[in-house]
């Protein structure tokens, strides 16, 4: 008799033990789900003060080489809008002139980033073709500059724009070295890294980046990449598109139409 009772108690103990085990093992997972749910909800709502929700956008730019006249208004306006130092060598965007001669020589120049215009240089060699290439931060989807930042001061925002947190940047210049497009520079006064932001202060207020705004020949197109009605999607559909340095797998979001093979 006693033995039986003992066995019953043992069974009861085992049942309790299993119950507790189940609760203990499931509880953290359940709590985890609750927590992450809250986190997800919080993310969805995250917006700027003016109601701009970064997650709803994915910005990109299209540049038509055939339309660029090399007037340098984009580079000039960019300096005005973003308080870029006026000295040469500090540019968020600039225009390069390519001259390809019949002996295969390729000359690339960009005096003062094209702001003061270009000079006609006469050589005896016959020029095969020549054109202008506006350059800008490519806002890579897989940005090498963000990978190397040791403090998390440069980052890809949720709308795909690569930004620099100048209050957090320590000025180590790793990102400047890492950028394969030479789109970054160290601001001579603040000693922090700087680069194109697609005029973030403008695009968050439904305005165009200033280089797109002032381009006299509409060589630059700006818009959403994942909305069918955007002018950029139309641009991508209507043109043969090239990107700079595709072999690096940086997945640029600046797309060039009529890009020449010689453009690096």
């Amino acid at each position: 008799m006693e033995k039986k009772i003992n066995e019953a108690e043992k069974k009861l103990e085992r049942r309790n033990f299993l119950k507790k085990l189940a609760v203990i093992s499931v509880a953290p997972i359940a709590f985890g789900f609750l927590g992450s749910g809250e986190k997800l909800m919080g993310l969805k709502k995250w917006a700027l003060n003016n109601g701009y929700v970064p997650k709803d956008h994915k910005w990109g730019m299209g540049i038509d080489i055939n339309k660029c006249i090399g007037c340098g208004r984009c580079a000039d306006a960019c300096k005005n809008e973003n308080n870029v130092p006026r000295e040469p060598f500090f540019f968020r965007t600039w225009v390069e002139r390519y001259r390809i001669y019949d002996d295969g020589e390729v000359l690339v120049d960009s005096p003062n980033g094209s702001i003061d215009g270009f000079e006609v240089l006469s050589t005896k060699k016959k020029m095969e073709r020549s054109f202008f290439v506006p350059k800008i931060c490519n806002h890579c989807d897989n940005p090498p500059c963000v990978q190397v930042c040791p403090v998390g001061a440069t980052f890809k925002s949720e709308d795909g724009v690569v930004l620099v947190d100048s209050d957090y940047c320590i000025g180590c210049r790793y990102c400047i070295q890492a950028c394969p497009y030479g789109a970054r520079f160290l601001h001579p006064v603040t000693r922090t890294a700087e680069k194109c932001t697609f005029c973030y202060q403008r695009i968050t207020k439904d305005k165009l980046p200033v280089c797109v705004e002032v381009c006299p020949t509409q060589a630059r197109v700006f818009g959403e990449l994942n909305k069918k009605a955007s002018p950029l999607v139309r641009f991508l559909r209507m043109n043969k598109i090239g990107i700079l340095k595709p072999s690096l797998n940086t997945e640029p979001k600046v797309f060039y139409a009529n890009l020449d093979m010689e453009v690096k």
Binding site: G42, C68, I69, N80, E81, T154, S157, Q201, R202, E213
Partner: protein, 249 residues
């Protein structure tokens, strides 16, 4: 319990106290060094996005100008400059939208401004209107002849030489100098305004040149004659002879 504590070696107790202190110091230092909103949406400060978006604007944008200056916009939308934003020439003017009387946008009047786009450069796309400013009325300012809001040449070119100067110069040396361009090319009037959409015609048959150069043609005697039947019948004349300078080989 006491037995349990007593069982732990002294050095383990001391080390674990040290460990606890180290962990606390790490947590305190980490929480003071790393901003609160770091990692809220990604590996960066969430407030940085707001800071960058708060940067000051300098350019108002075309759509703001349109609200007040509808008279100028009405002129501009009809001309070649219809796609130009106002601030390309007038400079950053968001202050003008806030205080229209205090801040006046710049007005470009000197001769150096228009050539930033319109100076001749071989790299510019063909068809874009360009001048050589050194020889293009060097003493006049651009706006004295061209209205910048609706720029057209002050006189629409009457003859072909305005654009095709090189061909006209070549032709003037040749025996064909007396033949007007329109004898061989039929140019639509619209060709003057949008040249590439309205290309002039070219002679497509041998018989066209034969009007003068055939053996039986009714033309002055000193014009060279050929036998239309035997003189390379498989080719159109201009495949071998350059009509603007036919004596060149």
């Amino acid at each position: 319990m006491k037995n349990f504590l007593a069982g732990i070696p002294e050095q383990v107790k001391r080390l674990s106290v040290l460990l606890v202190i180290l962990v606390i110091v790490f947590i305190v230092v980490r929480s003071t060094l790393i901003p609160n909103d770091f990692g809220k949406i990604g590996h960066y400060r969430a407030s940085a996005v707001q800071n960058i978006a708060n940067n000051e604007l300098h350019y108002a944008g075309q759509e703001v100008c349109v609200d007040c200056h509808d008279d100028i916009v009405a002129v501009k939308t009809k001309g070649y400059h219809k796609n130009l934003s106002c601030e390309v020439c007038h400079g950053p003017s968001i202050k003008h939208t806030e205080a229209p009387d205090e801040f006046k946008p710049q007005i470009q009047r000197n001769r150096s401004f228009c050539p930033t786009c319109h100076e001749y450069l071989p790299s510019r796309p063909t068809g874009f209107p360009q001048i050589v400013s050194a020889s293009h009325n060097p003493r006049k300012i651009c706006v004295s002849c061209h209205n910048p809001h609706n720029p057209v040449p002050p006189v629409t070119p009457k003859g072909c030489e305005a654009c095709h100067a090189e061909i006209v110069a070549t032709k003037s040396l040749s025996f064909h100098s007396e033949i007007p361009c329109t004898k061989c090319h039929v140019a639509n009037e619209k060709h003057k305004l949008s040249p590439r959409d309205n290309l002039p015609t070219k002679p497509t048959t041998r018989e066209f040149c034969g009007q003068c150069h055939a053996e039986d043609a009714n033309s002055p005697k000193d014009i060279p004659r050929i036998n239309m039947a035997t003189h390379e019948p498989r080719y159109v004349c201009w495949q071998c002879h350059y009509p603007h300078l036919p004596e060149a080989q």
